[in-house]
Subunit: 156 residues, 2 copies
């Protein structure tokens, strides 16, 4: 796959990708799509996105991120998704690496990712640990009574 | 003081209050004002606000909060400010208590507040501890290299 900036024609394949992604609830998919709409807007200050495209032209995944308000050089990684049929091929890693390279150029110092403590997100948490992110904090009962917020960060 | 819901005529006195509040930078004041504009919008789903008004009709403070996206029953306390000339009279406490009473009615379970580790926010951190909030997490170097994010929470 190669990584490139998002463009308006990516919206439909990304919507389909979100709906096919088992980890995401309907609420999460529609929240993610809302941010995709912001990221498609040229020069949107708050949300940016990159997509991974296969040589055959298929959208294999995307990553959405943006500067954390009120901070100097902190960025939030808001959403990342990779097509399940193409997993294990490093699409997620490549998306994160491309985002990090861009953020270093933008004087980024720190990336924050928020995820869930639930079992369904176990692969996601392992992924972040594997690519150099550290679990820095947990908030008990954040999403639901038995579903904690897990915050990963990485120094750029 | 008595606590009531925000109304459009509160915007000007609140803008003046934000500008007079020594703890807030210009950036923070304009971010806070942006959320006040959302909260003034009737039935805005994401941001709500209450103001504290003195018997003489002066706006002594305000609190802005809203449901945390993607969570069931978690709320963020986004901004709180009390007029410096009226501090020590329990305005901040009353604003938080009124917010919490409303959130309990809305099936709120948890309140999250994010603040800074900097010395200028020492009184703010003490305030949260004094009214029953617990420091649950820190993210090092979040705002700036030497300025950590401090997250307080309270179970409702």
């Amino acid at each position: 796959v190669h990584i490139r900036r998002i463009q308006p024609t990516d919206r439909a394949p990304l919507e389909s990708l979100l709906n096919r992604t088992a980890e995401f609830t309907k609420d999460e998919s529609s929240c993610a799509l809302e941010l995709i709409d912001f990221a498609i807007t040229p020069y949107h200050p708050d949300y940016q996105a990159l997509v991974a495209q296969t040589d055959a032209g298929m959208i294999a995944g995307y990553i959405c991120y943006g500067p954390t308000p009120m901070t100097q050089g902190c960025f939030d990684l808001y959403w990342i998704a990779a097509d399940a049929s193409l997993r294990g091929q490093g699409t997620g890693r490549k998306l994160v690496a491309a985002m990090e390279a861009e953020l270093r150029e933008r004087q980024g110092r720190l990336v924050r990712v928020e995820t869930s403590s639930q079992e369904g997100y176990g692969a996601t948490r392992k992924f972040y640990l594997a690519i150099g992110y550290a679990e820095e904090a947990r908030l008990k009962g954040f999403y639901k009574p038995d579903d904690d917020l897990v915050i990963f960060t990485r120094q750029l």
